[in-house]
Amino acid sequence: MSDKTSKTTRGATKLALAAVFMFSFGYLLVPLYDVFCDLTGLRFTDEEAVALSPQELEEDTSRLVTIQFDVSMNQGMSWHVKPEMQVMEVHPGRVYTTFYSASNRTVGEMVGQAVPSVAPIAANKYLVKTECFCFDNQTIAAGETVNMPLSFMLNPRLPPNVNLVTLSYTFFDITKNASAENQLDSVLAYK
């Protein structure tokens, strides 16, 4: 009987450990999805897109693709941002530069982060950003307006059926997080 009891306890402990493992596995899923997408090539990153090496690629003057610039503010973000150009006609293989202007009409300094998204999905990895305000967070002083540059190129291998690409940015207010980080930095520096 006691043999049975200890067997039960051992079994139950193993199961409890399995549950604990699965809890960590939930967290592990976050990096695992990235690893999986990288391995299978289902998703790509900006760095990889740049690695497609613009130098090798010829400008394709026979082709004109329309690119639309769009922007929106996430909830609670009070900046006024607009693209210099709403639409451009571009040749794949050539680097273009444009900018977005952003103004902070509040009374305090704010930090924002832009997150890009490209439609259609098929065009995603062919839109190469060589310089972008979205690579870093942006700080704007109270009442200031700044022009934020963006340089990009369409890879000439862009599928032929794609003639219209939309590049859209969403701006997030990260003032709070950024200041927390700064505080942490200064605490560390002090030590």
Binding site: T8, A12, A16, G26, V30
Partner: protein
């Protein structure tokens, strides 16, 4: 509650009216009873929430409740019904039945059993209390998608904490089931001799242990995103809200099988009894259950066809999902083959089991339609999805639970229930459940979105029907309550076997079943 079988040397249970008996009990039957009553109470509360939703949707326009409250009703209704009704009811059935079915005296871990039940009332009290907090209850849907869910007011940490408790309770329940099934079987009760209810529960328990912690992880990430500055799902900090959906549905799809597998076990017990033939294809039933459980881990993204997955992903999840229809089809085939040329009678448990087979299959078919990635772009987040999951869950899981109660009630309380009332309950439930949910297919296909308190005029008639059906269904369940109370109090005495051709160890015990089941292991033929 009952007299103890002659010759039983164990302690008598304390009086059923003593609170201490119920608080401290470690007896599997007492705990099973607690779970089942708890589930019924939650069923009434969740049902009232559903009726608030249907009342608002009776006519187009906003008339009874404000949209925020409406949304918190849809959210809470789902949480109540899934975590408070179906899961506890199955655990209650497991507690009552598994020891009796495998010839064991009790569950393997009786003290933990007590804990896993008593966590629940606190968890749900906390969940319900959020309705009175600043900013109202959770209103972003039971799927808790960020960023919407992160806009919940003061309620959020309480919602998450209470869901942690619910998860803890079901993990403990699951560990107990596995430990019982693996260690407490009577000599000779080999795995492949176990009744299918035990098999389906064993597999369900493994699913629970595997996925409830993943949900716990996901909602903890929500919590830290909101209060501790992490950015799991926050795009500004490099996270991705779609990541939450992947984590949630990695839990969520196995969860829907947690909500249905034990019903397969119930139906597989009832059909042979009333067809008076052994179950057709026992082994294939076991393997089909295992196959469904395995497949349930690789189909989750069929809930996310519209998030912008790569084509390869859409195709993989589409085909994997359609594959689940194969083992599910095997089950339905076996049930029908069991009845083929049987001498069938149609007592109430059989009626509910038959209703289950027919209406669960309807839900399975709409599931197959939703599994087609290209058309899901149209169906997603419409009432068609609502129709689908209500067909698999209400005339599916809930009917199976009701069937189980009718089938085993005489064994539990020693008295037969009133067959007339039972049949009335069945027919009213069946008519109203279809009146409620069938029209939702039509409005869904025509484009009525889910989780919105108002709708376009052309959907009015079907919505009116659905609301009438919902009230009819809700009221019919009060009949069930009356019937059960009557059977507990009085009624014809049940024999040990109760049903003419019932097979299984539980039917060798006297009715009502003695407080301690098999103090000496029974002989297995």
């Amino acid at each position: 509650m009952s007299t103890v079988a002659a010759g039983d040397h164990h302690d008598h249970p304390e009086s059923p009216y003593s609170i201490k008996r119920w608080l401290f009990t470690t007896n599997h039957k007492d705990i099973g009873t607690l779970y089942l009553w708890f589930s019924f109470i939650m069923f009434l509360i969740g049902g009232v929430m559903a009726l608030v939703i249907r009342t608002e949707l009776f006519q187009p326009g906003l008339q009874f409740v404000d949209p925020q409250f409406f949304n918190s009703m849809t959210t809470m209704h789902a949480i109540m019904m899934i975590f408070g009704v179906v899961m506890p009811a199955f655990t209650g059935l497991a507690n009552w039945l598994i020891p009796m079915m495998i010839g064991a005296p009790d569950m393997a871990l009786p003290r933990m059993n007590n804990w896993s039940f008593w966590i629940l009332p606190f968890a749900f009290a906390m969940m319900l209390s959020t309705l009175f907090m600043d900013g109202g209850g959770p209103a972003g849907g039971w799927t808790l998608y960020p960023p919407l869910t992160l806009q919940t007011g003061d309620a959020l940490p309480f919602v998450i904490l209470s869901m942690h408790f619910m998860g803890l309770s079901s993990i403990m329940g699951a560990i107990n089931v596995v430990a019982t099934v693996l260690n407490m079987r009577a000599p000779g009760m080999t795995l492949m001799k176990m009744p299918l209810f035990v098999w389906t529960w064993l597999i369900t328990a493994y699913l629970l242990i595997a996925v409830m912690p993943v949900l716990a992880g996901g909602i903890t990430m929500l919590l830290t995103d909101k209060y501790f500055g992490t950015s799991f799902f926050n795009a500004a900090g490099g996270g991705d809200p779609v990541m939450f959906q992947h984590i949630f549905w990695f839990f969520g799809h196995p969860e829907v099988y947690i909500l249905i597998l034990p019903s397969f076990g119930v139906v597989s017990s009832i059909i042979p009894t009333f067809a008076r033939k052994p179950l057709f294809g026992y082994a294939s039933m076991v393997y089909a259950t295992g196959a469904i459980a395995f497949l349930s881990f690789i189909v989750w993204a069929h809930h996310m066809f519209t998030v912008g997955m790569p084509l390869a992903g859409e195709l993989f999840f589409m085909f994997a999902t359609m594959l689940i229809a194969v083992p599910t089809g095997v089950k339905v085939f076996n049930w029908i083959a069991t009845m083929w040329r049987g001498s069938m009678t149609f007592e109430t448990p059989m009626l509910f089991a038959l209703g289950f087979i027919v209406m669960f299959s309807i839900g399975g078919f709409s599931g197959l339609m939703l599994a087609l990635a290209p058309v899901d772009f149209q169906y997603h987040d419409t009432y068609f999805v609502v129709a689908h999951f209500h067909y698999v869950l209400v005339p599916g899981s809930i009917f199976a639970i009701i069937a189980a109660v009718y089938y085993w009630l005489p064994k539990w309380c020693g008295n037969m229930y009133s067959e007339g009332l039972g049949k009335t309950h069945f027919w009213l439930s069946t008519i109203f459940v279809n009146l409620t949910f069938f029209p939702m297919h039509f409005v869904g296909l025509a484009g009525m979105p889910r989780r919105i308190p108002d709708y376009a005029l052309q959907f009015s008639d079907y919505n009116m029907m659905a609301t009438i059906g919902a009230f009819g269904f809700g009221l019919s369940q009060l009949l069930f309550l009356v019937l059960v109370i009557k059977a507990i109090r009085s009624g014809n005495k049940a024999t040990s076997q109760v049903w003419e051709d019932a097979e299984g160890l539980e039917w060798t015990l006297p009715s009502p079943a003695p407080y301690h089941s098999f103090s000496t292991p029974p002989a297995i033929k």
